[in-house]
Symmetry: C2
Subunit: 333 residues, 2 copies
């Protein structure tokens, strides 16, 4: 079923069908109705490829996301997809591993799709990637991180302050020896670590590398292993700040295996507030990112960027919310 078939059936030219389908002016109501009926009856849908060839745009936004995306990113991309759809854009996902070859492969795919814009929910390592993004002058929004030196618009939470608040919460409960479970690669890890240090410093507590564990990634598995390592070498901990909820979940698992109770023996705080946090037992105290607002804003920025409506378009740093559940308590006397 092509536009020509519809035209033939309606006894008009393809141009007229195109006008009707794209809601243009200047079509006799009678003919419009006839065509609309035919479209409905045949189930005709225009071919996107042909359409984007002539329009030189695809109405598609690419979202680059780690192939091991976690629940936080999963929720985020659903939200972005939803809002983008509201603006009339389709969404295309590009899963990339933390490897230069995977990033370059992703870049090739990106180019082949002739996207209208690109949203990065993933920090890539290869400079060539960002160079292409800049050189292509494609609309780009970084979501959940920033590269201030690169002049891309960015949507993210105040990572440092969030981590500071999480750590301060533990300090206020009376904890003095607070372990840190951190990750690698992504800038938010470094920022959350800065916040952790700031809270310690403000309370007059010394930063101790001996109670810091830097995991290679951010999964529950890494959290479990990282906590094992921490437990074996860092004595006297009464609390742990894990830089993501999944690290926290893994850490709690290790404590469970060691026969330690949370928060009885150790308090644990996470970061992100993924859906599952509220359903764990005990519920996880964590730092909530305003994921809905962030996703909505990301889609709005992208839409404005594509439309060239640059008034009021700017990066936004969102506030966080400390969600106190049951995984934190005063240390045992």
């Amino acid at each position: 079923m092509s536009i020509k078939d519809i035209a033939k059936l309606a006894g008009v030219s393809a141009s007229t069908v195109s006008r009707v389908v794209n809601q243009r002016q200047y079509v006799k109501p009678e003919i419009r109705e006839r065509i609309l009926a035919l479209v409905k009856q045949t189930g005709y849908v225009p071919n996107n490829a042909a359409r984007s060839m002539v329009l030189k745009r695809t109405f598609t936004v690419g979202i680059v996301i780690p192939d091991t995306f976690n629940m936080f990113q999963r929720e985020l991309f659903s939200i972005i997809e939803h809002h983008l759809e509201g603006f009339g854009y389709r969404t295309s996902f590009f899963f990339v591993k933390w490897e230069p070859e995977s990033e370059m492969k992703c870049l090739r795919k990106l180019k082949g799709e002739k996207l209208d814009g690109i949203i990065m929910i993933h920090e890539v390592s290869h400079p060539e990637f960002y160079e292409y993004l800049t050189a292509s002058s494609l609309p780009v929004v970084l979501c959940t991180f920033d590269r201030p030196e690169l002049e891309f618009l960015s949507i993210h939470v105040n990572e440092e302050e969030g981590a500071r608040a999480a750590t301060q919460h533990l300090i206020e409960l009376g904890h003095r020896r607070i372990g840190l479970l951190s990750g690698s690669y992504f800038s938010f890890a470094a920022q959350r670590t800065v916040g952790y240090k700031a809270a310690l410093e403000a309370a007059g507590l010394a930063f101790d590398e001996g109670i810091v564990e830097r995991a290679p990634s951010y999964s529950a598995e890494e959290g479990r292993d990282g906590m094992r390592s921490l437990l074996s070498r860092a004595k006297g901990l009464t609390a742990v700040f894990a830089e993501t909820d999944e690290l926290a979940i893994g850490a709690i698992r290790t404590l469970f295996e060691a026969g330690l109770s949370v928060p009885g023996d150790l308090s644990v705080v996470g970061f992100d507030d993924i859906d599952i946090c509220a359903f764990l037992s005990p519920g996880l105290t964590t730092v909530r990112q305003p994921i809905h607002e962030m996703g909505k804003k990301t889609a709005e920025l992208m839409s404005a960027l594509i439309a060239g409506e640059l008034a009021g378009v700017d990066s936004t740093t969102f506030g966080f919310e400390l969600i106190v559940r049951e995984s934190t308590a005063r240390p045992r006397a």
Copy 2:
């Protein structure tokens, strides 16, 4: 950067560039090298839209998935995506809500993309959807469910037997009053319920609607609420079989809130073995679907279907594995 630009730079025709890019025969090595160098230097990537117009195929497989996809489905689609890529196919996701309008919108999108094949990780309700799939004679694979009456290829686990094994495990531990937390819409819920009943029957236990709760969906939230309802009206339960892990996680949350311990006061079994199960405290006893094999097989079937290599191509019912962790134990004496 189009093929003509490259052709001009290389001093050859577009056809020659096309031959080189698509690795066809009959190009003088010297010219081939020149073009390859130019491609690399300019970062030229062919335009997919133009390519698929003339080839009349997109090298893209659509995956239809619920917009609220859970961790099991999330893992599954990553696996399928990975294998499909190995076969040279791109993947395009279509998120659909459990609403007729959403399904029809999805169908329109599907048509506009001119896909090479469609994988359903989601049972839709609208008959028109399946009718289109059949009428279009597009390769289709149903993954994680079946519609025997529809003649599509299907990849799924033996739901009934898995549920039977889960329930039998509880019975063997000595449980006699085993609640059921079920869901709606999807056929696996009904199948798992059948397995639950079969196990009861085999043990000479009566099926009691009074200890069955049917949630509207399958999230942890529904599990929490369903368990609340069950707890208030079904007295004397010593165990619960939840038809998905997420329902089980929510159920455990309710028990925690009620001051009941798992497995001390109640045993809980889930189904699917999503990643997080092993990291919960206590670890969740559950029925593991061979997700990697299922995803791989789905991609293989799709690839074979597209290539028209129909030898040995058939639906497969996979076996399961009962994973006993810490959420199940003998009932209190």
